[in-house]
């Protein structure tokens, strides 16, 4: 089989220095960020603030895992926020009792998978650029959601989702445990399985993938399906965190998840990066947002920082060509 580490080692000496540094750069940056924030504002390191940040990392982290698959496949998924909001609306669409949890889960994940299938079909079979395909499905899903809720969703989130989304066990949030489980499962799939190798090869060089007899279309479609399904799960977790659901739960997560992934070294030109890096990116983003609030700066700065970070991170990892 083709060894992916060898394939990326063939880039030449110019970027090997940078790529050797980057595995340590993210943890060091995160620790430095936490240290500086703690010095500037002691409240940052209080137990309640830390557990609050941990609660916020999980929904974003779950979306980032799915986004990682899609970006490594040279795509990107803008429909995640719409899938999240739809899942959250579904969560309140029933009686609000635990007995409905299974139906909610099946319907929400089903919608996520269906969205992923449409995205994947458009991107592979119709050669639509990923951002436009996922932007269009995002809008269509949004329209269906508005039509379904008639603009004003109501109802309660089942207690089990409230528990997973916002409760802690000895200081560790349940949603963090869910994130860790999902990260390990999908991390192993991506790094160790045959399918994972096919993802890297397809994203790195579609021509190579074809020559090796990989069914690139199938691999890509599965990537979008994973992203859609995980976005649905993240939407349910987030609905449990916020408790009340409106039509815009998860708004901004499409950009946040892409920023986190790119910051974590998952290159938009495909074939590079891993889930751990993406999760570090998500953690850094949550810490930065939290620091902005804690320092008493205007909330709007969060959006501005996000915009600058995505451009700078993409520039940092850009593959120099020609």
């Amino acid at each position: 089989m083709v060894d992916v580490s060898q394939a990326s080692g063939a880039e030449g000496p110019a970027i090997s220095m940078r790529s050797r540094l980057s595995p340590y750069a993210l943890p060091i940056f995160l620790i430095a960020l936490i240290a500086v924030s703690g010095i500037v504002s002691p409240a940052f390191l209080s137990t309640s603030n830390i557990s609050n940040m941990l609660l916020q990392v999980a929904p974003l982290g779950i979306v980032v895992i799915g986004q990682a698959f899609v970006i490594i496949l040279r795509g990107l998924d803008l429909s995640v926020s719409s899938v999240m909001a739809t899942a959250a609306v579904i969560a309140t669409g029933f009686s609000g009792q635990n007995s409905d949890v299974l139906s909610i889960l099946l319907i929400a994940v089903g919608i996520g998978i269906a969205t992923g299938l449409v995205n994947g079909w458009l991107v592979t079979k119709r050669s639509v650029s990923p951002f436009l395909a996922t932007l269009a499905t995002m809008i269509v899903l949004q329209g269906f959601r508005f039509a379904y809720t008639q603009g004003a969703p109501s109802g309660n989130v089942p207690p089990l989702f409230r528990l997973i989304g916002s409760a802690t066990w000895h200081g560790v949030p349940y949603n963090m445990m869910l994130l860790v489980v999902l990260a390990i499962v999908f991390g192993v799939v991506l790094a160790k399985s045959r399918f994972g190798r096919e993802v890297y090869i397809t994203g790195g060089s579609p021509t190579t993938a074809r020559l090796l007899g990989i069914n690139a279309d199938r691999v890509t479609i599965i990537g979008y399906v994973i992203s859609g399904a995980l976005a649905a799960i993240a939407g349910l977790v987030l609905s449990g965190y916020v408790g009340i659901v409106d039509n815009w739960v998860g708004r901004g997560f499409e950009l946040d998840s892409i920023v986190a992934a790119v910051m974590g070294g998952i290159s938009l030109s495909g074939g590079q990066g891993g889930i751990l890096g993406g999760l570090f990116g998500a953690a850094i983003l949550v810490v930065v947002f939290n620091a902005v609030l804690l320092f008493g700066l205007p909330v709007q700065l969060q959006i501005i920082i996000k915009g600058m970070v995505i451009v700078l991170a993409a520039a940092f990892y850009v593959r120099r060509r020609i």
Partner: protein, 320 residues
């Protein structure tokens, strides 16, 4: 010579197949609309459609040029929000401020667009990412400036949106002139040809020594300028700007471009197709209004139109 003519004509027809389909759809929709409602058939409704398409036409014009180079401008939505909020915020009801502010807004749009172009050239990051980042930055800035509708404009300012020359809406006439000028520029100016060359084969264009930097600055600067025009028009129409005015314009501006047959991979298409695309989208919305379809379903329709359009024009080249 004469033997060559039919071949050229047929290949031209094939290249413009999409435009013909759009034109046919326009006619079908007009007939359909005339059947479902008497009020649809009135001159005032037809003028209404032209009037309503002005904002979309302006922003889509800039978007077309960006897409022709193989790029995209995702910052148009936030830019329109920022510029329209600034327009009414800075005019603040004073007639004497109208002209200076309008000129300032157009220059600011041009400047932001040029910033997009410079970042794309310097950082060598795909336009998609640069303009996505710029979009977030601009949205943050406009929310820092104002969280709701800002300022006001003098009543006479709505002349731009509702005024008429020789019985025709000013905006619609302006659009036709502007599209014609840009079409001539793309066809006959050297820089206009370079826009197609860069979009068709970027590496080849670079090897030939074409001024890619100048092309990028031109198209993104122009797109920013068009956002300035859109912002002024929308402020005139709604008599106030607010921080989410432009929210839906990012996807909306791409829809007519792809419907009009301009490929997202660049190098193929033109502004004429975009104009037909703009009229088609406006007509569809108008017909849906007459059918009493709620805005939720209009949203679904818009998404489906994009999906249908991009699935019909299959792109054989690289993906964004």
């Amino acid at each position: 010579m004469t033997a060559l003519a039919p071949i050229r004509l047929s290949s031209r027809l094939r290249a413009n197949q999409g435009v013909l389909v759009v034109a046919a759809l326009l006619v079908i929709l007009l007939i359909f609309g005339a059947f479902i409602s008497d009020r649809f058939r009135t001159t005032s409704n037809i003028l209404n459609i032209f009037e309503q398409s002005t904002g979309l036409a302006l922003v889509s014009l800039g978007q077309t040029l960006a897409i022709l180079t193989g790029g995209i401008d995702l910052s148009v939505g936030s830019m329109i929000s920022l510029l329209s909020t600034l327009t009414s915020g800075l005019i603040a009801g004073k007639v004497s401020m109208v002209l200076p502010v309008a000129i300032g807004i157009l220059l600011l749009g041009l400047l932001i667009g040029i910033c997009n172009g410079l970042l794309i050239i310097w950082l060598r990051v795909h336009p998609l990412i640069v303009t996505l980042g710029m979009s977030a930055v601009l949205q943050g800035i406009v929310l820092l400036y104002s969280l709701g509708p800002a300022g006001s404009v003098p009543p006479s300012f709505n002349f731009l949106a509702y005024g008429k020359v020789l019985g025709l809406p000013i905006g619609a006439v302006f659009i036709l002139v502007l599209f014609l000028l840009v079409a001539l520029f793309l066809r006959y100016a050297r820089l206009g040809r370079y826009i197609y060359a860069v979009g068709d084969d970027e590496v080849g264009a670079r090897l030939m020594g074409l001024p890619r930097a100048r092309v990028m600055l031109t198209v993104y600067g122009f797109s920013g300028f068009c956002c300035g025009l859109t912002a002024i028009y929308l402020t005139s129409r709604f008599s106030v700007g607010q921080p989410y005015t432009g929210l839906n314009y990012t996807l909306a501006s791409i829809t007519p471009v792809v419907v009009g047959g301009t490929l997202l991979s660049g190098g193929k298409g033109g502004v004429f197709g975009t104009l037909l695309g703009v009229y088609l989208v406006s007509l569809i919305n108008n017909v849906l209004n007459f059918m009493d379809v709620s805005t939720h379903y209009q949203l679904i329709a818009q998404g489906l139109i994009v999906i249908a359009a991009v699935s019909i024009y299959v792109e054989k080249k690289k993906r964004v």
